[in-house]
């Protein structure tokens, strides 16, 4: 190695150290003043000078062979390429605005402020409407034991228990009436005052009557009116499906014996959503989606899902149900009934 004297840089080290400290103080000091975009430029200039000082003196780039400097510089060049070309994409993107969609009728809330408060006339009007629209499922006394209740699972709401799955405040019941959920149809077709009358009449059955806060009312009123349902940028549109009619499977119908025990069970418990021949394509309302939307049920034919070949999976899915998608939970069948139902469904799926 060459003699040590030539390598004595201690004095320069101290000088470099001092300037680094000064530059640090300067950069902190400038950060307290707002020069707009200039701030970032100044900060980067100072940082780069400090970095060059460290690289040239402390890292001996000044005294060593030129190859090391070229190597170090090349890393900065390729980093600059990475930054430059990525920025050419990220900072120059055009994001179109989604189309404004005409609202369907369900945004008609009527005069929310006035109608949200119960009044004797509304309750009387509600009583008559209840008989024709709701009694068939919810029963005359609101016990959820109407004549048509047998066909539905889960059973229609029993108002007298005071439990509200969708919320018991007037605004909440109103929205449930408007959107419908699970296998309850939407009553958006009824004018707003009739819906409000039904809301107040239904609440007379229930011991538990939570009241609306002013905020609830204004919130609902804000949604009122047939304003366009604008799709927020962040949230993509929720699931939506009015599916094109699926081809029906008449040819295979005769082969399957609909009167077998499995067939009976299927007709009473599953056909309403999955179609008589398991061809699906029937609209099932999606719970809690607003504005309401449907999901077409899957057809059994050509379905590769796990349950088609594994009975435990079939029983598990059906006993849990898919609450979000309006698929009821069936948990009152004996194992023999499960077996016959499963065989029937496999026939529909063309597997057995």
């Amino acid at each position: 190695m060459s003699s040590n004297k030539k390598h004595d840089h201690r004095k320069t080290y101290w000088k470099v150290w001092a300037s680094l400290i000064v530059l640090t103080i300067v950069t902190v000091w400038t950060s307290y003043y707002d020069f707009g975009t200039l701030n970032i430029v100044v900060a980067m200039l100072i940082a780069t000078t400090k970095a060059t000082l460290v690289a040239l003196f402390f890292m001996h780039l000044l005294y060593d062979s030129k190859v090391d400097t070229v190597v170090f510089a090349s890393s900065l060049v390729f980093l600059a390429i990475f930054v430059g070309l990525t920025a050419s994409d990220m900072l120059d993107r055009y994001v179109p605005q989604p189309v404004k969609v005409a609202a369907s009728g369900d945004n008609d809330m009527g005069d929310v402020a006035k109608l949200a408060k119960p009044s004797p006339e509304l309750i009387a009007q509600g009583k008559t409407l209840y008989a024709t629209n709701c009694a068939s499922c919810h029963g005359d006394s609101g016990m959820g034991n109407g004549p048509a209740a047998a066909a539905f699972n889960p059973k229609p709401r029993n108002f007298t228990t005071g439990e509200w799955k969708q919320g018991g405040k007037p605004t909440q019941i109103f929205q449930t009436l408007t959107t419908g959920f699970n296998s309850m149809p939407s009553f958006a077709a009824l004018p707003a005052e009739e819906r409000w009358a039904l809301v107040h009449y239904i609440r007379t059955f229930s011991p538990n009557r939570p009241e609306d806060s002013a905020a609830d009312i204004t919130a609902l009123a804000a949604k009122s009116g047939s304003g366009a349902a604008h799709i927020p940028v962040r949230l993509a549109m929720e699931l939506s499906a009015v599916s094109e009619a699926q081809p029906t499977y008449d040819i295979r119908k005769s082969a399957i014996d609909a009167t077998s025990e499995g067939g009976q069970l299927y007709q009473t418990r599953c056909a309403s959503c999955h179609g008589d021949n398991g061809q699906g394509g029937i609209n099932v309302r999606v719970l809690g989606s607003h504005p309401f939307s449907y999901l077409a049920t899957q057809s059994f034919a050509g379905n590769h899902a796990a349950w088609t070949t594994n009975m435990q999976e079939f029983v598990r899915i059906n006993s849990l149900g898919l609450p979000g998608f309006g698929k009821p939970a069936i948990n009152d069948l004996t194992p023999a009934q499960w077996q016959s139902l499963y065989n029937y469904v496999q026939q529909l799926a063309g597997i057995r």
């Binding site: 080290y13 101290w14 950060s31 900060a43 190859v67 390729f78 980093l79 990525t86 990220m90």
Partner: protein, 214 residues
């Protein structure tokens, strides 16, 4: 870094010590290039997100403690100085001064990590760590978690490199005490020095970008 156990022994495939030393330095510089590009990836993410959400960055950085950041910068600069001096003294065969300076550098590294530990503890207390329990309510901007993800990953990775640097310094300290190095052969000290200066260099950029957003 092919070195020898004792004295200036030249490995069989090198012609002389000079060739071995310059090969080692070139090898380390190439390694430093990969470090620059590793941190470079994170700086690219920083630049993109800051360009996309400038005011979120301005608001989110208020929770960072400028004083602690400033102290850490000074600590690292001093450790760089002491490292450079240590390399000089090893080359000067002045073992005592070299050991003292290497220990000082090691101490600076430790102080840096302790200050870093307190900063992190404070952030964890405010639920600012982005693992699902991030406290969005503390900010008006919805994606403030991006700033803290950047903060934790960049300073975390840098902290990891400080720890590796401290390990190397300790290893070199022990061998200097065992008198393995001389003016003829001091490659490991020189290489550890280069690595440590790069760690300081990365922090020189990290400090203004993270702590000093106007």
């Amino acid at each position: 870094m092919s070195d020898a156990t004792s004295g200036a022994h030249v490995a069989h495939h090198f012609d002389n010590a000079e060739q071995q030393f310059s090969s080692a330095k070139l090898g380390l510089w190439l390694f430093l290039v990969t470090e620059v590009l590793l941190f470079g990836g994170l700086f690219v993410a920083y630049i993109m997100f800051r360009a996309l959400y400038p005011d979120m960055f301005a608001e989110a950085h208020h929770h960072l403690n400028k004083v602690m950041g400033g102290i850490n910068t000074v600590v690292l600069i001093c450790s760089s100085l002491s490292m450079a001096m240590a390399v000089h003294f090893v080359r000067d065969n002045d073992r005592v001064k070299a050991v003292k300076l290497l220990s000082f550098t090691f101490l600076c590294g430790a102080t840096f990590m302790v200050i870093k530990f307190f900063e992190y503890k404070e952030k964890f207390a405010h639920h600012l760590f982005p693992n699902g329990s991030f406290d969005y309510s503390a900010f008006t901007h919805k994606n403030a978690n991006l700033f803290y993800s950047l903060y934790f990953i960049m300073t975390g990775l840098h902290g990891l490199h400080v720890l590796i640097g401290m390990g190397l310094i300790a290893w070199v300290l022990i061998r200097t005490r065992r008198n393995n190095f001389s003016s003829e052969y001091y490659t490991p000290v020189e290489l550890t020095g280069l690595y440590w200066h790069l760690v300081d260099l990365v922090w020189i950029y990290l400090f203004p970008l993270m702590y000093l957003i106007a």
